[in-house]
């Protein structure tokens, strides 16, 4: 009976290891392949930690398995051995993990800087933010600059407004200015691996580069009230031409004057 239980508790860690081995290739690990350039770097960090943790897991489970098996197969006449601890062992299993942790923290600094440090944002993104994303209970209000102008902090006459749908060009770095109108929210796009808290009073720039055209979910990741669960938007990544067309159409719609075929002009 003891052998059965020993094998039972050795079996499951083996299964866990197997699942861990096959999970990434089957897409069980992440929501999808990363769809942005930063996403690859972030995923790399996750895999690094997974690797380290897996090694540690193998080591600890092997020790446990050995102890179980030895206990199961031993004759029951042997006396128990009492230990007062081993100072050496304790030093080892404190220093080794701390080295590992320091290693991880140093390794990820580069990626963190790429995400957060504004001077490391790609120039083209930093110069021309594509939109201001104003998080609001419980929707995302988007303000694009008037076509042909740069986004200003204050709303400008001619700025284009939309809600819950952000259009970005694909395959180029873009930056959005994240703000919130009321409480804390968080700009989180799982497939793009972008996540940034929106803090009241701050304008926080976020950059990302979408690699593949398509629609991506944007959800709120900071509990902001009863509607937090449904505070969703779409990020639509398309070619430069399609984004231009979208802006033109948006401008025309925003200037609609209800007269069917009259041209709608705005002239300063």
């Amino acid at each position: 009976m003891k052998k059965f239980w020993a094998l039972f508790f050795i079996f499951w860690p083996v299964v866990a290891l197997y699942v861990c081995w096959i999970a990434p290739s089957r897409g069980w690990w992440f929501p999808s392949k990363p769809m942005s350039s930063l996403g690859h770097q972030i995923d790399g960090l996750f895999y690094l930690i997974l690797f380290i943790v897996a090694l540690t897991f193998i080591a600890t489970q092997a020790v446990m398995g050995y102890a179980l098996w030895r206990g199961a197969t031993k004759k029951s006449t042997e006396k128990a051995m009492f230990s007062h601890g081993s100072h050496k062992l304790e030093i080892i299993w404190t220093i080794v993990p701390s080295f590992i942790l320091v290693f991880i923290s140093l390794t990820q600094l580069e990626v963190l800087a790429n995400i957060r440090v504004i001077s490391k944002f790609p120039d083209e993104a930093r110069r021309a933010p594509i939109a201001e994303v104003m998080a609001r209970q419980f929707e995302w209000r988007i303000r694009y600059p008037k076509p042909g102008t740069t986004l200003a902090t204050e709303a400008q006459s001619g700025d284009l407004y939309y809600v819950n749908e952000l259009h970005v060009p694909v395959s180029q770095p873009v930056m959005v200015n994240l703000r919130t109108q009321d409480v804390q929210h968080a700009f989180f796009s799982p497939k793009l691996r972008v996540k940034q808290d929106a803090v009241p009073g701050l304008i926080i720039p976020i950059w990302f580069e979408v690699e593949k055209a398509g629609e991506y979910e944007l959800v709120c990741a900071e509990l902001c009230g009863w509607g937090h669960y449904k505070m969703k938007a779409r990020i639509v990544a398309g070619s430069e031409a399609s984004v231009q067309k979208y802006m033109t159409d948006l401008e025309a719609a925003q200037n609609e004057d209800g007269v069917a075929d009259a041209p709608a002009e705005t002239e300063e």
């Binding site: 749908e165 004057d257 209800g258 041209p263 705005t266 002239e267």
Partner: protein, 480 residues
């Protein structure tokens, strides 16, 4: 080892009972009756049971309403209403019973398409009223349905029926309860659980009035307007955007909102017929004036039996007409001239008109558009009840404080397109104190629109063109 502290057997039984009973809660929702309905005499609300041959039983307002609209678990789709309940309406043209199969040939009205693969047939009139039977075979060309089982009674030619009826209403109800009812309430009365924390309050649909429409001042809201509000939300308020719902879901919610609004309006109109003479207060004052309560009840019985049914039909027809016309192009506001191009001259002209005595926008919206005109601090009376409001300022038809818009913020609740602003000025804002200025030349309205759109970007308040006039000293509240 025991997991539990020692307790005697009796308290265990008690605890078990508590655990079991928490499962038996009634979570059914119900439509509320408006305050005006519940202030009627009880006989008017609940009806009067029959007593003799010359005193027949009559139904009260509540029953009339329930018969036509049902309750949220059992909705009634009243075909008079211009609501898309889902499915196809048809009438029986022929019944064939051959080889054990019960076949029904259906005819639809002109312009209505036969469905591709209906699953169920419900009889609406005739002997089999209320029966729903699965459709096992269907010929889309001829409109012949083979029913899975024969109906219990015999249908006749001319009976009305519905194929897959009620789908839109059903999904509308489920979606509405999930997304809308916590603010707007299960009956659309604007009194959901979260409503008390919101300013401005969520819309009470039961007046049949919606503020932000593209229709003229005498028309109801159109389906497009409601869908627009759902899609883009109302900035500056708690109404969020539901852009991510599919078109079908949005359509279902719009139809359910119209259903609730029609219910509220029908209730209101029915009660209007009765409130003058048969409200509880009126009954009280009539008795105080010397009338006999039994006589009042007899009079009410007569009224409910003889007069109200015809009036109710008329009211239903009226509502149906108003709500369908709102969706036609005739109801839309279409400017007669294209928008005057935005220019400093146009804005200056707009400001002139804004300040002019003809339109006097500044009276409510303030000299610089800050929404602080002199109207906003005067006390006024509710024009219907003649009671003074508690707070100073303007009030809307929902009795909420209705401050004139601060035009300096650049937040436009009804939409920021030029046509939206044109509509606000031309048709006013229904239910609120913003009047319609439909007799102002359209070109002048465009000048004002250009000015209003430029107000948030003025270098300083009132900087556009014309110098602000010296404001008249504010009148002390003149209580009428």
């Amino acid at each position: 080892m025991s997991l539990t502290p020692s307790l005697n057997k009796l308290s265990w039984v008690g605890l078990l009972a508590v655990f079991a009973v928490t499962g038996c809660s009634n979570n059914d929702s119900s439509f509320v009756y408006s305050e005006r309905t519940t202030s009627l005499m009880p006989e008017a609300q609940d009806g009067i049971p029959g007593e003799a041959d010359d005193a027949p039983g009559v139904l009260g307002v509540k029953q009339l309403l329930d018969d036509r609209f049902g309750n949220p678990q059992n909705l009634k789709a009243w075909l008079k209403l211009p609501v898309d309940f889902g499915g196809t309406q048809a009438s029986v043209s022929e019944i064939v019973t051959e080889n054990d199969q019960f076949k029904v040939k259906l005819a639809v009205e002109e312009g209505v398409a036969l469905p591709e693969a209906p699953k169920a047939l419900e009889f609406i009139t005739g002997e089999c009223i209320g029966e729903t039977i699965a459709v096992s075979g269907w010929d889309a060309e001829t409109g012949e349905a083979v029913l899975a089982s024969a109906p219990t009674k015999q249908p006749m030619a001319g009976d009305l029926c519905a194929l897959d009826g009620g789908g839109v209403l059903r999904s509308g109800r489920v979606l509405y309860m999930r997304h809308c009812s916590h603010c707007h309430g299960a009956s659309g009365d604007g009194h959901g659980p979260t409503a008390e924390y919101l300013n401005p309050r969520p819309r009470d649909y039961r007046h049949g009035v919606f503020k932000f429409t593209s229709t003229n001042d005498m028309s109801k809201v159109s389906r497009d307007d409601l869908a627009r509000v759902l899609r883009y939300g109302i900035p500056g308020t708690y109404m969020p955007s539901f852009l991510l719902l599919t078109d079908d879901e949005l359509h279902a919610i719009v139809e359910y909102v119209r259903f609730l609004s029609l219910r509220g309006e029908y209730e209101r109109k029915l009660v209007n017929e009765l409130a003058g003479d048969y409200s509880a207060k009126a009954a009280q004052s009539r008795v105080a004036d010397g009338e006999n309560r039994t006589e009042i009840v007899a009079e009410l019985r007569e009224f409910l039996a003889a007069d109200l049914p015809d009036t109710a039909t008329e009211l239903g027809d009226e509502l149906a007409e108003q709500w369908s016309v709102a969706n036609t192009p005739e109801a839309l506001i279409i400017p007669s001239v294209a928008r005057v191009p935005d220019s400093p001259e146009s804005r200056r002209r707009g400001r002139e008109l804004y300040l002019s005595k003809t339109l006097n926008c500044a009276d409510c919206h303030g000299v610089d558009g800050a929404g602080n005109g002199p109207q906003t601090i005067a006390f006024e009376k509710n024009p219907i009840t003649n009671e003074m409001y508690n707070e100073p300022g303007l009030h809307d038809v929902w009795d909420n404080l209705n401050q004139p818009r601060n035009l300096q913020t650049g937040i436009y609740r009804g939409g920021r397109r030029p046509i939206d602003l044109f509509g606000r000025i031309h048709a006013g804002i229904k239910g609120s104190r913003m009047p319609s200025f439909k007799n102002t030349p359209h070109e002048e309205i465009w000048h004002i629109v250009n000015y209003v759109l430029s107000i948030p970007f003025e270098s300083e308040p009132g900087a556009t063109g014309v110098a602000a006039p010296v404001s008249a000293p504010v009148a002390a509240a003149v209580a009428p």
